[in-house]
Structure formats: C-alpha cells, structure tokens
C-alpha cells in the first residue's frame, strides 16, 4: 500500500480563471475536489491517462463497450438527483443496456468562472456515491474553466468503458413478432421533476427524478432472461422515442396499451395541465426491454424483484403491421400512432 499523500487544499470559495490555467490553482482544485473525493489508486497516479489492465477486462467478456455523454442539466440540483449523479448514472446506463458490465468512467468538467467551489465539491461527492453504487471507478478526468457567460455554471462529460460477455447480442433490430415489451417503472418522472424545478408552478406535491444507475437491474434481468432482444434507456424523447427506434430498426409494429402504462398521478396531473405527454417525457432511470413473448412474465418478475423495477409492467407486444410504426391502443380501444417527437418538449433536461 502506498502511504497517503498530503492533499493540497483549495482556499478560494469560487472558481476563477486561474483554476483552469494549468498552474498551481488548477492542481490544488483537481487534487482537493476530485482526486481526494473519488479516492482510487488509478486516479491517484495523476498520469495523463488511466492505465487499465487488459486481463481484467477480458475476464468479463470478449467485446469492449465504449460510450460518452455530456450533461448540461439546468438546475444543477433537483429533487431526486443532481448533475453529478446524472453524469455517472447516464453513462453507466448507456453501457448497461448494451449488456455490458460497466467498469471505468472518465470525468471532464467545464466550469464557468464564479462557480461556487462548495457546490462543485457536492457534485463530486455525488459522482463518487453514484459510482460506488454502480460499482464503477472514475479513473481519469479533465478540468476547464471558461469566462463568465461562456458556459452556464457547470457542464460535465463522462465517457465509460464496459465489457460485454461472450455471446450477448442485444440490438434494436432484434425485435420479433410476438415479443413482449416491458418498462421497469413509472414513466416521465425526470422530465416532470426538472419542469417543476424550473417553473414555479405552485403544485403541492413534488415529483422526484428517477435518476439512478440501472446496471444492477439489467444484470438481474439478463440472469433471469438471457434472450433479451432489445434494451434501451428511455432518456430524452421518452419511452415513445425508444419504441420508435425499435420499430424502425426491426421494421415491425410495436403496439402498446395505454391502460398498461405505469404513470404516477402527479406526473399525469402536471402533463394534463401543461399539455405534455408522459410518453415523450425524459426518464433517467427507466429502460424499455423487448423479450421473447414466452419470456415476458419471467422478465417482469425479474425486474420487479429489483428495487429499481418494483413498478415494472408489460406494456405491449410486437406485431407485424403497420411496419416501422408504434401504435397506442387508447383507453377506449381506439388506436393512434405514437410518432417521433417534432421539436422538443423541454430544453436542457439532462
């Protein structure tokens, strides 16, 4: 074991341009806020790159999964999460829905001059906690500071590496006739949570974001039902968008039932009032799974056995026609098309 180094401390209370200059202030900031918080040997080395033993990777499978995502959510802290939790969970989820075991993450921040350093510290702690929950390591990073007004408070990019076990092939074009379609819980929570934070809408109840890492849930699902055909997390554009991606890739019809959709009353209420559709609202802890029809109930039971899948539901089936289309059977047995969203419901939600 290496003996603990003396950690250098930041004395400033706000980010200045000096913290991005490459000099002493920047080193103090990185060591104090990030290295000390993330606390792992790979990062402690402070080399320009993380060095990851290939043996450790190949032990998990035969394909490397690699993804990146930038996080620009406004506000930085919201009911149920914050930009740090989002930045770790979002990238972990992008790996997990490919069937990969997420292992390593990078963390690059762009901070606006004047940002409160205590706030940055809270974000770093949240990243650490979420990484611990997901069982991933934050092994490399970067810090940039831009003048006031050139960015809004704080942007974070994380890239992630995971390994896909041999034989696993989850893909959007694998949906087949007769497959069952599932979600792991109530939809639209994140979008509504952010909306409530932004606009002072004066609702008595507050919806919390579902922001969470889903790799544990995906592992549970795959253990019970290895033949999962499609899996995707329903972030921007919501569940309707993922369904459309599957329908287009597989050239089939995904039919879902309005009565089967798990939606919180609070979310429905807000959406009713503002003319939004929960099916298009963003989620940060929800996935859509397509599994062979006979496996539907088993997959459902597996999802429900996990804390992040308690309210999972089978929401529909894969049909032949009309091709490349998502059809919703309404409460009354009428049908309507669920198309891709044109424009956006809300900007900067993740």
């Amino acid at each position: 074991m290496t003996s603990p180094r003396t950690v250098r401390r930041v004395r400033d209370t706000r980010i200045t341009l000096a913290h991005g200059s490459g000099g002493k202030a920047m080193h103090d900031l990185i060591e104090d806020v990030f290295v000390a918080t993330f606390d792992n040997a790979d990062l402690d080395a402070l080399e320009d790159q993380a060095r990851l033993p290939l043996l450790e990777l190949t032990a998990h499978g035969d394909q490397l999964a690699f993804t990146t995502d930038s996080y620009v959510v406004d506000p930085l802290f919201f009911a149920g999460g914050d930009i740090g939790r989002l930045a770790v969970a979002g990238t972990v989820n992008d790996l997990a829905v490919g069937g990969a075991k997420p292992l390593y993450l990078s963390c690059a921040i762009i901070a606006e001059e004047g940002l409160d350093i205590a706030l940055l510290r809270r974000v770093a702690c949240s990243m650490r906690d979420t990484a611990a929950e997901a069982g991933v390591k934050l092994v490399t990073g970067d810090t940039k500071v831009v003048p006031r007004g050139a960015a809004d408070k704080l942007f974070i990019n994380t890239a992630g590496i995971g390994v896909i076990p041999k034989g696993m092939s989850i893909a959007a074009d694998r949906a087949q006739l007769g497959d069952a379609i599932l979600v792991n819980g109530t939809i639209g929570d994140h979008g509504v949570a952010i909306l409530q934070e932004r606009a002072d809408l004066g609702f008595a109840t507050k919806v919390a974001s579902d922001c969470r890492p889903l790799n544990g849930l995906v592992a549970t699902l795959l253990a019970a039902c290895p033949e999962v055909h499609c899996l995707r997390d329903a972030t921007r554009g919501g569940v309707a968008t993922v369904l459309n991606e599957f329908a287009a890739a597989a050239r089939l019809c995904l039919r879902i039932r309005e009565t089967a959709l798990p939606i919180r009353d609070e979310v429905r209420g807000v959406c009713e009032l503002l003319g939004l559709d929960p099916l298009y609202m963003a989620n940060e802890g929800k996935l859509v799974a397509v599994v062979p029809g006979p496996d539907g109930e088993r997959a459902l039971a597996a999802l429900r056995s996990h804390p992040y899948g308690r309210e999972a539901a089978i929401i529909g089936e894969v049909e032949e026609a009309p091709e490349e289309t998502v059809v919703l059977t309404t409460l009354f047995g009428g049908s309507r098309i669920l198309d891709m969203l044109v424009g956006e419901q809300l900007p900067r939600i993740c």
Binding site: E272, T325, F332, G333, G334, S335, R336, I337
Partner: protein
C-alpha cells in the same frame, strides 16, 4: 386522478357509442351520405386524435376539423411582422411557445432566436409585462394571439400596464373572433356540414348566446363541448339527437365550465381595450370580415402596430396548399396533394400542419394507422 378519470370511463364511452349508433339509424340523411359534424376548436381536434375517437365512430359519422387553431391560421405576413419586431435590437419579443415554430416567409421566431433575436417563451401576457417591468431600458412586445379564450388576459394585461404607468410594453395584436369565422364557413358554397361541436374555452368567455344565429338562421345544431373523451362523445350524441328529432338549437354540454352568459368582467375588459377590425387575413381561408380585433386608439401606446413601423406585407399562401378546402371539410387532410410529402410537421407548408392542434398535424402525428387502413380499404389492389 380525480376530475379527470371520471370523464374517461371506458364503460360510459361504450354506452355513448351505442347511443350514437342507434341515433344514426334514425337520421334520414345518413342513408344517402355520411353526416358531417365540425369541431370548430383545435383543442377538440387534438383530443379526438389523442383518444382515437374517430375510429370508434360509425362510418356514417364524419368529423370535420375546423379552423379553431389560432396558431395555424396566422398568415405568413403577420409572422414576418413579428420576426421583424423580434430582430429590432432593443426589443424583447415574448410569445406563447406554440407560436415559435410557425414559418414566416423568411424565417420563424425560433430561427430568429437562433440568429440572435431576444425571443422569450411566456405562459401568460403578465409574464411579458413582468419582463417589461424588470427591464425598463428594453421594449417588450407581446405576440398576442388566440380567439376570445386568450383575449381577456391580454386586455387585463394592457389595463394593468396602464395602471402601473409602464411605458415599454406593447402587443402585436393577432386576436381573432370565432363568430365571424363560423359564419364565413357557413356561407361557403361548398358547405355540407350537418352540425357543430362548439368551442369550449371560447364559450367560457363569450357564453352560448352568440351562437344563436347558427340554429336560427342556418338551421344547424351546435353543442358547446368539453375536452375530455366523454365530453366529446356526449356532445356528438346531443348533436345527433337534435338531427334525429328534426330540431336545431344551441345546447351546452360543458355546463360545468361554461356559464350561459359567459364571463362578464372578461367581456368588459375586451370591449374596453379592443375593437373589431374591418377584416383580418387568415392563412388558408383568406380575408374574413370582422374576424379580428385591434387595440383601440385610447390604448395606442400599447399597440406595437402604432409604436413600430412594420413591413405589413401580404404574403400569399403556398399555391399547393389545400388548407382552405380541408378547413371547410371539402377534403380530408390526407387527400391534400402535399400532405405528408412536401408538407410535414417538421417542414410545414400549410397552416394546418403547423401546430399540434392543426388537423393535418394531428392526422400526421396520430392518424397514420387509421389512415393507412382507410387507404387500403379504398384501394384493395394496392394491398394485394
């Protein structure tokens, strides 16, 4: 969810649909051609598609989607005026969100914003007034639009600005009136409508009396309808019952919200601030007499049309568009030559493709399956 689920009960919907099927048998004209009922309001169009109601109705009842989407019917020249205002260096242009994508001849407000114009989305004209209060060195212009539904809030905002002595607030007034519009449709020579679902929100303000002429003079039934699926189905039942009994009257299905005399203080505020224009230009329908309002001279300092010089050009609708025929129920949206081809929600050519409440956008977004079925039914050789 309370106060919502009660109006979405599938069992009650079933009963109403049975009643509709029964009534259709009793209406003689149904044997010769389908009955045409127009829902005037875009909110109804949206709900009809959202709940898939059209597909549940018997074939002999056709819903015609009317002109009641104020965003859709905004002529291009007015959008150009608004964009010109937004591009003025000292102007903050405040608008409702659904107007931001409406294409002008040069660009939409969304594109103007991307090009550097200060365009803000507000939920109420009072939000625009707040911006004016907070930024006294800027000119804040509110893009006022809508039928009588939104007129009182605009009028009250002007009165509030006057009380506070705010000098940097004005509106580009595009408010339109429902009665002149319905009358223009009724006077159209191609008209084949049998009855109307009256607009619920407009009626909250104007009440039900102004529709009297539809029953008396034009001999058509009209039922003011709510926006939940059971509201709409029940209103259709009420129209059909009138037709079956050979009556035509103004009836109010949306009584829980719409008072027969309307909203007195709201109407008084409208009368104080606005006066009828001689005519107003509509996208798709052309010029309609007395179908718009302007700010009265007494409040001219709150009128962007007198405060700023505007291009004020009249831009013709694209030639290929058949919005007018769709609006009058002469053709269905998907029978238009450019529907789904040159004209889509991403690149709207015509008025009705612009807002989610427009009939063509609703068909495009929600109606595809139903439409495909109908087309297949109409031309079996294609299916084979």
């Amino acid at each position: 969810m309370k106060y919502v689920d009660e109006f979405r009960d599938p069992k009650k919907a079933d009963r109403l649909l049975r009643e509709i099927r029964g009534l259709v048998e009793q209406i003689p004209v149904c044997r010769a051609r389908p009955l045409q009922i127009m829902e005037v309001c875009g909110g109804h169009t949206h709900a009809i598609f959202k709940w898939g109601l059209e597909g549940l109705l018997p074939d002999r009842v056709e819903l015609v989607h009317g002109p009641g989407c104020p965003v859709c019917v905004l002529p291009m020249g007015r959008v150009d005026d608004c964009v010109a205002l937004a591009e003025h260096p000292n102007v903050i242009l405040a608008t409702f969100g659904d107007a931001i994508r409406v294409p002008g001849s040069r660009k939409s407000l969304l594109q103007a914003k991307a090009d550097g114009a200060d365009v803000r989305i507000v939920y109420s004209p009072l939000d625009a007034l707040k911006i004016a209060r907070d930024q006294p060195d800027k000119e804040v212009v509110f893009f006022a639009l809508g039928f009588e539904t939104t007129m009182p809030s605009t009028a009250f905002t002007v009165l509030q600005a006057e009380r506070e002595g705010i000098r940097n607030f004005s509106l580009l007034c595009n408010h339109i009136t429902i009665i002149a519009t319905i009358k223009a449709i009724l006077d159209s020579p191609e008209l084949t409508l049998d009855g109307f679902l009256g607009p619920g929100h407009v009626s909250v303000v104007i009440g039900t009396a102004p529709y009297g002429f539809i029953a008396e003079h034009y001999k058509k039934p009209i039922v003011v309808a709510g926006f939940e699926p059971l509201d709409i189905l029940q209103s259709i039942v009420m129209v059909l019952r009138q037709l079956a009994e050979g009556r035509c009257a103004v009836e109010n299905q949306y009584r829980r919200v719409v008072p027969e005399p309307g909203n007195g203080p709201g109407l008084a505020a409208i009368a104080r601030v606005f006066e009828l224009r001689e005519f107003f230009e509509w996208r798709g329908l052309g010029s309609i007499d007395h179908s718009g309002v302007r700010v009265r001279d007494a409040y001219a300092r709150f009128d962007a049309e007198s405060r700023f010089s505007l291009p004020g050009l009249k831009i013709a609708d694209p030639k290929a568009c058949q919005c007018g025929e769709v609006l009058k129920g002469v053709i269905k949206p998907w029978q238009c030559k450019v529907f789904g081809g040159a004209c889509t929600p991403e690149t709207p050519l015509g008025a009705l493709m612009v807002s989610s409440e427009g009939a063509c956008a609703a068909y495009h977004n929600y109606g595809g399956a139903h439409l495909a079925e109908r087309r297949r039914a109409a031309s079996p050789e294609v299916a084979a």
